[in-house]
């Protein structure tokens, strides 16, 4: 009997290899779990029922284009859109036999931190369904946490993989910018968007990363990995130097329970042999948020210009073309995309470009330099992933700026293009706390090594208490 709440992807693969379960049986047992629990949690926007392949299943965030499978990005403007080609990451998954279970919920165009901006309604946190699963990739994180998929792919612009993984108690990697293809992914902010894995263990996360990472001729912003992905095994961290940036660990708004769980995990790092030392990112945290909320909306306003009702997606009835464009966008976009399109268009408009977008790009250089300087001393940086545990549905929807603060601690490293891994490190008020490890570019293997050793030492049970 397969328990999807406990089965890791590695174990599912082993069942297949040893002939103890067929690919169809494994796929079916996840569909049954989805049938049981998804009506409450609403992790999926589309469930496949059937999908070819001879391997294990996977869930995909609904910004990832899938040939013949609807892809909406959580937006009404893409309702009914069915891609005619697979994203390159999907082609890679299919070449390894992986089978798509379905498309998971996301804030509209991945803009949000709770899935409450999805045009199709929010997902719920498997640890407490009155709370959000985080976002934008809340559907993927909640699905993995609730045993509705062994693993999943998400996308991350300012925290959309790491923050929901933290709030749902699983492992999420935002890879180094440029290591995973975005060909066939619905674009949000192209200088930031990255695709990455969500899983229940660090080893699964590393394995999924090894499948999707590498140069793609269809995406010229990708590069080959400088070294192959290594599945982590070590249970000690001797010789590693880990920095604890004050501003990321003492920021206003970090809940005491979150700070306490992270402090305990940092003590574990020392017990495992790592050298831990306080350090500082004086400008990155203070200026990261304003920098992000100029650059991301500016790029979004440009990327979302393609939704014009001409080639695909929603089209409004109108007698004239210009009116058709405007009414299509008025009807098709929800509040958050409209807000960001407005901020971005303003920041890029004549007379304001230098003061807003140009200045934000310079701040970005400062953020990158601050991080680079720390990596001359440290192998990795550690902090909470999210300032808070999962918050109640509706708690931040009325105030866009309050919602934006959910990503306060994930944004700086995203701006610098650096990899970040979130692993669960304990509970606060009965809800998971995520620990963020950030490394220099292409240091995923280092993050996996630290994450795996810490995961073994902490022994966190990723199955939500109410489902055990």
């Amino acid at each position: 009997m397969i328990d999807t709440l406990r089965l890791t992807a590695e174990e599912a693969n082993a069942l297949l290899t040893r002939g103890e379960a067929s690919s169809d049986e494994i796929y079916r047992v996840y569909l049954d779990a989805i049938g049981d629990r998804d009506p409450e949690l609403h992790c999926y926007l589309h469930v496949c029922e059937h999908d070819p392949g001879e391997g294990i299943p996977i869930a995909l965030k609904d910004v990832i284009g899938t040939k013949g499978i609807p892809t909406t990005a959580g937006s009404r403007i893409l309702e009914g859109y069915t891609p005619v080609y697979d994203a390159s990451v999907v082609t890679r998954l299919r070449s390894r036999g992986l089978r798509v279970l379905g498309k998971t919920n996301t804030d509209e165009f991945a803009m949000g931190s709770s899935t409450e901006n999805s045009a199709y309604g929010p997902s719920r946190n498997p640890w407490d369904p009155s709370r959000v699963p985080g976002g934008s990739g809340g559907g993927s994180a909640a699905a993995v946490s609730a045993g509705l998929a062994p693993w999943a792919l998400g996308s991350d612009t300012g925290g959309s993989i790491k923050q929901p993984s933290a709030l749902c108690g699983n492992v999420g990697l935002r890879p180094t910018y440029g290591t995973v293809s975005r060909y066939g992914i619905v674009a949000f902010a192209s200088s930031l968007d990255q695709v990455g894995p969500v899983a229940r263990t660090v080893r699964d996360c590393a394995f999924l990363y090894s499948i999707v990472a590498g140069r793609d001729p269809c995406d010229t912003t990708t590069v080959e990995l400088p070294q192959p992905v290594e599945l982590p095994e070590a249970d000690e961290l001797g010789g590693l130097r880990i920095g604890v940036p004050r501003e990321l660990n003492e920021a206003e708004g970090i809940e005491p329970g979150v700070a306490e769980a992270v402090r305990a995990a940092i003590a574990r790092l020392e017990e495992l042999g790592a050298e831990v030392e306080e350090c500082s990112l004086p400008l990155s945290v203070e200026y990261g948020m304003p920098c992000y909320y100029l650059i991301a909306p500016a790029e979004a306003s440009s990327n979302l210009a393609r939704y014009d009702g001409v080639r695909y997606g929603h089209r409004a009835d109108a007698a004239e073309r210009l009116e058709m464009y405007e009414r299509t966008r008025e009807e098709g976009f929800g509040d958050e995309p409209k807000r960001r399109i407005m901020v971005g268009t303003y920041a890029l408009s004549a007379g304001y470009y230098d003061a807003y977008y140009g200045q934000a790009q310079k701040v970005r250089t400062v953020i990158k330099r601050e991080h680079d300087a720390l990596f001359e001393t440290f192998d990795a940086l550690v902090s909470p992933t999210s300032p808070t545990v999962a918050f109640p549905l509706g708690a931040r929807t009325a105030d866009p700026l309050a919602m934006y603060l959910s990503d306060l601690l994930t944004i700086p490293s995203c701006m610098a293009g650096l990899p970040g891994l979130s692993i669960p490190c304990g509970l606060s008020e009965g809800l998971p706390v995520g620990l963020q490890l950030v490394g220099p570019q292409f240091a995923e293997n280092m993050l996996f090594r630290i994450g795996h050793a810490l995961e073994q030492a902490i022994g966190f049970d990723p199955v939500p208490e109410r489902l055990r």
């Binding site: 069915t82 005619v84 080609y85 440029g178 200088s191 010229t220 912003t221 590069v223 400008l283 203070e286 200026y287 304003p290 909320y293 100029l294 210009a305 009702g309 001409v310 080639r311 695909y312 997606g313 089209r315 109108a318 004239e320 073309r321 210009l322 009116e323 058709m324 464009y325 405007e326 966008r329 008025e330 976009f333 509040d335 409209k338 807000r339 399109i341 407005m342 901020v343 268009t345 303003y346 920041a347 408009s349 304001y352 003061a355 807003y356 140009g358 200045q359 934000a360 790009q361 310079k362 701040v363 970005r364 250089t365 400062v366 990158k368 866009p400 700026l401 701006m415 610098a416 293009g417």
Partner: protein, 96 residues
């Protein structure tokens, strides 16, 4: 820097968004709050700092110019809201 109603409508027009009256009222307050928060970037004197447009040091990636199959017309038009033979069909007229 604050954005007034007239500027807001101008920006909406640039972005091809027609906003309902209730949206204009709500957005005016929200956009001003957001712009006030992001204006913090102007506190720093960065006249000597170069901009970063992209975190990866990749410049001018050239590929061989080799033809390969592209999407068949029928597939490229599969999601068209309206078509006319092998063309996307749109309503006439309207000046920007």
């Amino acid at each position: 820097m604050a954005i007034d109603r007239e500027q807001l409508l101008h920006v909406a027009r640039l972005a091809r968004l027609v906003l309902r009256e209730d949206e204009v009222e709500r957005l005016e307050g929200q956009l001003n709050d957001i712009l006030e928060a992001v204006s913090k970037v102007s506190e720093l004197d960065l006249s000597d700092v170069p901009p970063t447009s992209h975190p990866l040091e990749v410049v001018n990636v050239w590929e061989e110019d080799e033809p390969r199959p592209s999407l068949p017309v029928a597939e490229a038009l599969a999601n068209a809201p309206e078509r006319d033979g092998d063309f996307f069909k749109v309503p006439p007229g309207g000046t920007a």
